[in-house]
Symmetry: C2
Subunit: 135 residues, 2 copies
DNA sequence: TTGAGTGCAAAACGTTTGCATATAC
DNA sequence: GTATATGCAAACGTTTTGCACTCAA
């Protein structure tokens, strides 16, 4: 277990970037965004911090889509829609009670202890759907 | 669009392997399993077939966990639990109606068209929980 | 002062791809 | 016979890692 935790400026940049981007960003996007104003930051630092922050509950790991792991600064439990064409991720407005109660309704098992719940939908977004029709 | 589809022996091996393994296998595991008896099969073929079979609905892509994409031969809609320590994946018995109705209850949006739904839980399985206690 | 965290570069990992060959139809 | 699917190996993009150095506490 980690006992001491330092507040580095890099970690501050990363949290700010995810919030400002507001696109359920992957590490690469966050790195690119920060590097514009602070080109000395390293990719390793971004990857290291983002996965640690997810473990610490400061970010939500919402899953791996189209090859990259995406994070959410919105810690409130909610679902996502992922466009399988362009990779765009939308927040999904679904029955809050239903989603919230999903965890409680599962049959209790002594095989595992649940600590997180991930609901994601896949499909095609309106923009990509239109593009396809015109081809 | 693919017009013709051939039934190769490799595809047969792959489907058999996933069913026999019955572990929500990733491509690497399937390759290793087949290679024991048929060492000439190539990884590229396994990857190509598994992703195509998922698109065709012959397999279910249940998501990317701990770095690899996992598939299910059980096409019936159900949820999964993933152990964040050992990567073991369990089928989760949860209220069937609840899971089935989740898709229907989401607020209709003209931003996207949903075609798949993925529910996964994360945590620690009993085996890994025990190991931790003894450390 | 000191060790947690950084920057850098190399490597690891899962996956995709190009191409000549083999094979299902 | 023909074009799809294969085997192989090289390449790709994401992520992890080792190491010397920096800087927050």
């Amino acid at each position: 277990m980690r006992l001491i935790k330092r507040n580095t400026i890099q970690k501050k940049w990363i949290l700010e970037a995810i919030k400002e981007l507001n696109t359920h960003a992957a590490a690469e996007e966050v790195y690119d965004f920060i590097a514009k104003s602070n080109p000395t930051i390293s990719k390793g630092t971004v990857y290291r911090n983002m996965s640690q922050m997810a473990k610490d509950g400061e970010l939500l790991n919402i899953g791996s889509f189209l090859g990259a792991t995406h994070y959410d600064h919105n810690l409130h439990e909610h679902a996502h829609f992922v466009c399988n064409v362009c990779g765009m991720i939308f927040d999904v407005e679904c029955d809050e009670n239903l989603l919230g109660s999903l965890k409680d309704t599962i049959v209790v098992s002594d095989e595992y202890k649940i600590s997180s719940c991930n609901v994601s939908f896949g499909g095609v977004c309106a923009k990509c759907g239109l593009k396809r029709e015109t081809i």
